[in-house]
Symmetry: C3
Amino acid sequence: MEPVLLGAVTILALLEQAYFSLQVIYARRKYSVSPPNTTGSPEFNRVYRAQANCSEYFPLFITAMWIAGMFFNEGLSCVGGVLYLFGRLQYFWGYSTSPQGRLAPLYFCAKILWALIGCSALGILLSFSKLYLDTDLLLITADA
Amino acid sequence: MEPVLLGAVTILALLEQAYFSLQVIYARRKYSVSPPNTTGSPEFNRVYRAQANCSEYFPLFITAMWIAGMFFNEGLSCVGGVLYLFGRLQYFWGYSTSPQGRLAPLYFCAKILWALIGCSALGILLSFSKLYLDTDLLLITADA
Amino acid sequence: MEPVLLGAVTILALLEQAYFSLQVIYARRKYSVSPPNTTGSPEFNRVYRAQANCSEYFPLFITAMWIAGMFFNEGLSCVGGVLYLFGRLQYFWGYSTSPQGRLAPLYFCAKILWALIGCSALGILLSFSKLYLDTDLLLITADA
Ligand SMILES: N[C@@H](CCC(=O)N[C@@H](CS)C(=O)NCC(=O)O)C(=O)O
Ligand SMILES: N[C@@H](CCC(=O)N[C@@H](CS)C(=O)NCC(=O)O)C(=O)O
Ligand SMILES: N[C@@H](CCC(=O)N[C@@H](CS)C(=O)NCC(=O)O)C(=O)O
């Protein structure tokens, strides 16, 4: 089994999500918000939403990183992946502090995610033209 | 790396989710619902929930499409995938307009998802009998 | 295509999530909570949150099980997977009954998830040292 680096970054992503979940559990205790409630003081709401937002994007991120890594370039995708995870940590801490604190890291993460989606699309295009059109687009571009 | 078509539909799915997220961001501005709040006017709530529901099903959809595509039939799964994504677009627009507007596309998407899960199960069954029972169920059926 | 057992457990996971979704739809009818609303009587809120929590962890679970299964040991990961899904069923039923009812199954599921993440990390470490350091850590440990 080969894509070891993608696997390693994926484990980092899992650990980060576990950390976010634990923070929500601590915030539930600290601000006395018992399940099934999901709202309380503004402080709690921000921690809760920070984790919810990261969870919502987790599948998109994992999918984009793996497609980019398998079809385009594993190393590059993993660098993107680590940057994204770093950005999400900043997002979580920023959002926990104030709603404004989430914005800069959010823009950063969005850019990385778009880059991963772009690399995925490029990789699929190259593989597609090789597999179905028997054409190596990279060679054509190099010739031009 | 082979499953190019599955990869292509997956990228479509990512773009669709990005579109839904952007619509929520626009709706937050239009109806003045600042994070960490998640409720406001009924119009906002519908857009917010439409995206939330699509996000919730995204991992199920991707998983079902890939298992069906890898173990059963890639082309068929991708056709199912494109139909599902089309249905989700209708769901999002329908739900944004009225709660009733979500129903017809939802039933459509549910049917496709069940079909993908069914194809996954069939594919796993065929692979299982080949790998572990050394039996080709398709040949047996063809003989009968 | 090989990882048949992982595929089989994944289909189980999809069926379980479908079951949870249907329970929310029934609860919406029973307790008259029409979309886009997501809160109502405590009974409804618990069913709603039980499904939401399971959905939130679904991508983490699938990811951890597949990485552990591909890089460490497929059979072991699938046993973990089945136990996790069993625990999630208990979580859903327990949470639907009372907030306290979710706790024991939650701890159980968390332990399994940590075990899967641990196996993933171990598998990645072994593959990494083989692929990049040309060292078989298992042999070294056996020699020691
Ligand atoms: N979204 C979760 C994240 C953390 C978590 O998994 N919490 C456990 C233990 S408090 C839980 O059962 N949460 C109940 C729920 O999500 O409704 C939460 O809001 O609590
Ligand atoms: N579920 C998100 C979808 C769009 C999104 O990612 N929004 C960004 C920029 S407004 C965000 O940080 N949302 C805060 C949140 O999800 O609590 C939302 O409700 O806003
Ligand atoms: N989270 C969903 C789970 C079940 C589901 O998918 N329900 C469909 C049919 S009632 C739906 O369109 N739900 C609207 C929503 O999620 O806002 C819910 O709350 O309803």
